[in-house]
Structures are given as C-alpha cells and as structure tokens.
Symmetry: C2
Subunit: 411 residues, 2 copies
Amino acid sequence: MKMSRIFTKTLRDAPKDETAKNGALLTRAGFIHKEMAGVYDYLPLGLIVIEKIKNVIREELNKLGCEEVLMSALQNPEPWEKTGRFDDQEVDIWFKTALSSGGELGLAPTHEEPMVNMLKSYISSYKDLPVYVYQFQTKFRNELRAKSGIMRGREFLMKDLYSFHTSEEDLDKFYAQVEQAYACIFKRLGLGDSTFETFASGGIFSKYSHEYQTFLPVGEDTVYYNPDKSLVFNKEVFTDEVLDEFKAVREDFRETNAAEVGNIFKLKFKYTEPLGLKFADENNESKTIYMGCYGIGVSRVMGVIAEKYADDKGLVWPEEVAPFKYHLVAIGESGTKVADDLYSEFADKILYDDRASARPGEKFADADLIGLPYRIVISDKTLTEDSVEVTDRRTGETRMVKTIDLKGLFL
Amino acid sequence: MKMSRIFTKTLRDAPKDETAKNGALLTRAGFIHKEMAGVYDYLPLGLIVIEKIKNVIREELNKLGCEEVLMSALQNPEPWEKTGRFDDQEVDIWFKTALSSGGELGLAPTHEEPMVNMLKSYISSYKDLPVYVYQFQTKFRNELRAKSGIMRGREFLMKDLYSFHTSEEDLDKFYAQVEQAYACIFKRLGLGDSTFETFASGGIFSKYSHEYQTFLPVGEDTVYYNPDKSLVFNKEVFTDEVLDEFKAVREDFRETNAAEVGNIFKLKFKYTEPLGLKFADENNESKTIYMGCYGIGVSRVMGVIAEKYADDKGLVWPEEVAPFKYHLVAIGESGTKVADDLYSEFADKILYDDRASARPGEKFADADLIGLPYRIVISDKTLTEDSVEVTDRRTGETRMVKTIDLKGLFL
C-alpha cells in the first residue's frame, strides 16, 4: 500500500473525548475513526488488522472442524422470550427497535437464542451431532459508559462459536480442544505471554466458566494469580471456599488488572432446554442437547494489542496482526528508485511511504506512530554502502542489510 | 467440504411464508435460514457465495485504486440532521433506537452522511483528492413489506463506494471507470448478458442516475428497452420529453420486469455542501468537493442469480460464484476410495457427498438442488471403464472422463 494513495493521514491530536490510549493512538495513526463513544469506523489499515485477527481465529477453529456462518443482527423477540432474556430487567444492554409493520425487535448483543433456534431445523438425531458453528458478527450492547476506546464497544466485532453434543463427555472433550485452540490463537496474536485462562463464575449449569484475561494496567477486570500463574481467578470467584477447593492459600496470590479477550462456557441445557433443541438417541429416546459457547472479542483484541505494546512513539504491532510487515521509507532519487522496485515486487508486505512532500523526519515519526514491525530506509547515503537500514520497531535495533540480500527478507 | 460434516441438510419444504423462489430454493438447499421476513442467516454454503461475490467486486474496485473501510451501523443523528435525512418523513425506512445514556440513534440504511463527515478529518487540500472509499456493510431498511427472499432485505449486505473530486470533469472520468468496472463485475458474476445500465431519475444535481437492472420476471422494477438494448429506461423517466432528448420513439421500446442490482449517482454537492466537505484549491480558495456514489446489492445479487438460473430441479450457480466447482458423488467401495483420494488433493474445489447413509438417488437429487456447476460420479460401474461421469448442471450434458485425466479437471 502506498501512503501517497491512502486517504487517511496521521493526526497530531486525537478527539478530546478519547481518553483511552488505544483509541487515541489508533485514531492518530489512521486505523480507526470515532463515530461516537463505543462506536468506531475501521479505516484501511485498521480493517487489515481486523481481517488478520479474524484469519488467525478462523484457521485455528477450522482445524477443529468448526463451520462458519453469518447470522442476523435484527432479532425476533420470540426465542429470547423463551429464555427470559428479551426482558430489559434480565439483559440491560439491549438496543431495541421496531418494525414499521408492527412488532418490537432487538439488535443482537449475542447469538445463543437464534443459534439454538436455527439448529432446530437441522438437528434431530444423534447422527447429526456433534455440531460446531461460529461466526464473526457485529454485536450491539447499549453500555451506559464506553470510555475504553475499542476495548469496550457499543458496536463491536466478536467471534462466537457454539458447540452441540449428545453427552457431557463429548462437550468436555471439545471444550478441552477449544482451550488448546485458544492458547494457540492468543499466542499467534502476540498475547500468549500475557493472557491466562481464568476461573470465573459459571452460571446455572457449571460451577465455573473460563475467561481469557490479558494482564493489562488499564484492564477493567480484577484478577488474582499465583506465582507461576497456573491459577488465575476473577475477583468474583476469589473466595475462601474456592481457594479451599483448589488447595490454595490467599497469601500466594497477587492482584492485577486485566482485560477479558475471550470466554468459554459449558452452557449445557441453559438454552437448549427452554428452546427445545433435542435429539433422538440410539434407542430413539428424545434427549436435550448439551451446548457450549466460546467467544473472542475481535475488535477488543485489536485494542488490547494496541494498548499493551504501544510506547511513547506510537503503536507496536506483533508480526502476525500487523497490517504490513515492512514500512518502507525512501529518501533521495536513487533511494526512491530501489524502493520502487522493491515495492513493485512485494507490495502485499509493504507500506510504502512514497510521499514526495514529506520530510524524512516526518516519515520516521509516522513510521513510529503506525508501528509496523520493521522499518526499511533506503537513501542515497545507505546506497553508497550498497545497503539499506532495517530497524526493529519494538527494540529499536538497527542493522544494515546489503541490497543484494534485500529480497531475502521477503521470502 | 464434506457433506457428512456440514450441519445443514437439504430440506423438503421451505417455510410456508417463503413465497419467493430464491428464498425457497436457497433455504431448501441449505444456503440461508430465515429469521423473519427480509432477515436471513447465511449458512456455510451461502456464506461462501457471499464471500465470492464480495471478492469479485473487491478485485475490480481495487484495480481502480479504491480503498476498503468498514463504517458503523449505529448512526449519530447529527450529520443526518444537516442533510435533513434523519427525518422519518424524508427517509421512511429508518430503524431507530436509543442510547441508554440518552439520545436517539439510527441504524444506517446507507452511509453518505457519515462518510462525508468522516472525510472532513482527512481531506483539506486539492492534493488530497481524488479519494475513492468503499465498504461491504450491512444496511438496515425498515421496509413495510419484504416478500422477495434475499432480493429485498430489511437487513442486507451492500457494497457502497463513494468518490470525491476537485472537479466535475474528474468525477465524470471516474464515473466512466466505474461503469467499465460494473460491466466487468456483472459479467464475472454471471449476470452480464441480462444486466443493463438503465437511465433513472437523477435527483437534485444530475438529470439522470444509472441503475444496473437485471431483466427478470419477478423483478420489482419496470423498465423499457429498445431492440438492441442500447437504451434502457426506468419507468420513472420513460417520458416523451426524455425520448425526444434521446431521439428515440416510444414504439421501439418493450416493457419488462427487472431487479436493480446496482446503481451509480453523480451526487455532486448534494451531501458535501450541507456537511461542509471542502478543499483548498491551487490558489488556496475554499471549494466544495464533488461526490459520486456507487452501490451493488451483494445479498440481492445472490438472490437474483438464484432466481435467474434455477430450474425445476433446483439452483444452478455460475462458476465464479458457486461455493464449489464440483459436486463429488461416490458410490460403492472402489468409487469411495478414488473419491477420497481426489478430495484429499482438491478439497477447496469440491463439495464431497461422502454420506454413507444416503442412497445414490438422494445424492443426485441433492446435487441438483444445490446446483454446483459440475457433478462428478465415481462408482464401481464407472471404474470398470477406468472412468468417472461428469455432468454439467446447467445443460445436463454428461461425459465420461478417464480416471487418468481426472486431476486435469482441477488444474
């Protein structure tokens, strides 16, 4: 992508009401644009990051045999009324609207009810199970406050996976597979070292659910962890009773802030029972289907990555989610010629600052703000040594690479 | 994709209230699921079709230098109030909702206002222009009636492109490029022979806009065309005055139904003026920006393709949008062995009916209903002649292909 062509510009200032670091930096660097608190547009660079995060998740889920769909945002109240969740007293973050032909509708804050309801058309026998269905869908949540940039959206992108099983054992087995997949996903997203599976309250059918918490000073959750972080508890379950159960002592634990980037639940019959999702077993007996659900906040993950790695110069993207691997800066006539050649061959890996009007200092500052993993500078000066300068954005380390070896970086 | 793994099934019947052929067939074949009138879920096969349509459009627009973004569905009334379009008297298909913290919101039925408003952050000089920005976004329109399957959605997927220019000449030039791109897009989507650029009413700043109308008996629009279809008029502009202007006579024209799959508008100052999107020209004079907009109804295109090509056995997909090119049916033990091998090598091009429980007749009927371009049957019988049977879904023509040449079909 050529910077002379992108319609966005880096901005000196973020909107005044943008108090979150992720929101401010992503806005200044041209990744997002704020429509209102908790509602953002994704600009060309930001949309690439979103798509890269989605692809990492998609690849890992497809390995488990999960199938992708896309469900609607507009919600018929009917299935939600069967579980009691259309009631604003029960779920207090609904956006509601109405059909001009009559009848109230909701905007989906999550999709358990329509998913279970939809599957009644396709599942009838034990032979149809297990089923694993996921989507990347915009969720709408009418949050009273939304001051954390894209870490807490009123409109945000989520991956939600739902699994359906004939038995608790089969649910447990798949749940464990998802745990493995999540570990792999957060590792690939650059959050592996700081994201921990955390015990949280479980709801009606399970003692615990699991959250994936990324330790982060500005995280809105409070969690407690032991020295090797093998046990992490959300505040809500950090009780003497729970500690006893895990044979742990309170003194071993430390408190930290964290941001919830994912969660997984053994829902069992919570939704399948009231909505009547059943199967006929081997003996033709009708039984209720076991269900699990597994979320990852896609746009939130983008915000958490921005928040976690940014330094005083700007954003710092892990390689797998960076919109491009290389930020190419050309200075002078010969530099531009070599840079043009390189770009023409590897355009999909390069953000090329080809702006004739920008000074080198401006280009370097923008490269730091945008935060791609490596900056390549090709100038008349580096070329006198038949070299280009490659700088690691994270460490700031610079090395010279011979022009003859330059293409090797891209292969 | 293996049919034994897909959670959907072909259904004998569509929902009773599904009167449109596209809605009924797409439901029966497992591409979509109806949530309510005009609101559908996209199931695994359907989502692949949507993504293929998007990719065709994306490829052609990117060739023109267009940049992809993703704007929000939730709409702050402010920019819409400046153009008068937040008023339900003015735009009668709004879904409205409200923030729990106070304030009415809309669900975007289109995105001119937020797009123009957003660009005020990035465009200030003639050097920043032209700009071409597009997105694939869910639109919400509170239609009183929605009985045409996915051809008229209350929630539907649209590609909307907006262009911004310093002069009318530059707008005209880009508009002509988009006309070329649209011709190419509809050709690739399999609608080239039946889709015609049609004169329609132009609004405030232009005498005419152009619609892309696919001739179709169930289309909701009425258009008039001359013998070589070089002139097509929407009913609203088919007047004596307009005919005079084009030196055409009414007797030469025939009437037909058509479905609008795209439209392009020279909006000029319609939105940029009230929203104050200006640029400084070479003399540092402030001028209003010229604007064009260019839509394609992505989910509607899918419905139109389904509607147009379906026969009495089911759907018939053009190759470029088919979820897979080949529908592989294995019969018998040796047939299954050869089919397994083929699938393992070319999984991304094959829908493999590997169901052990389904009879051959059932598999053939499902292949016809789902409508992939080619059916390959590998049975113990075809293998006695070292062959497989390949049937063209559209023509019904069958030919035998030697197993030794089989892989050649996929390369």
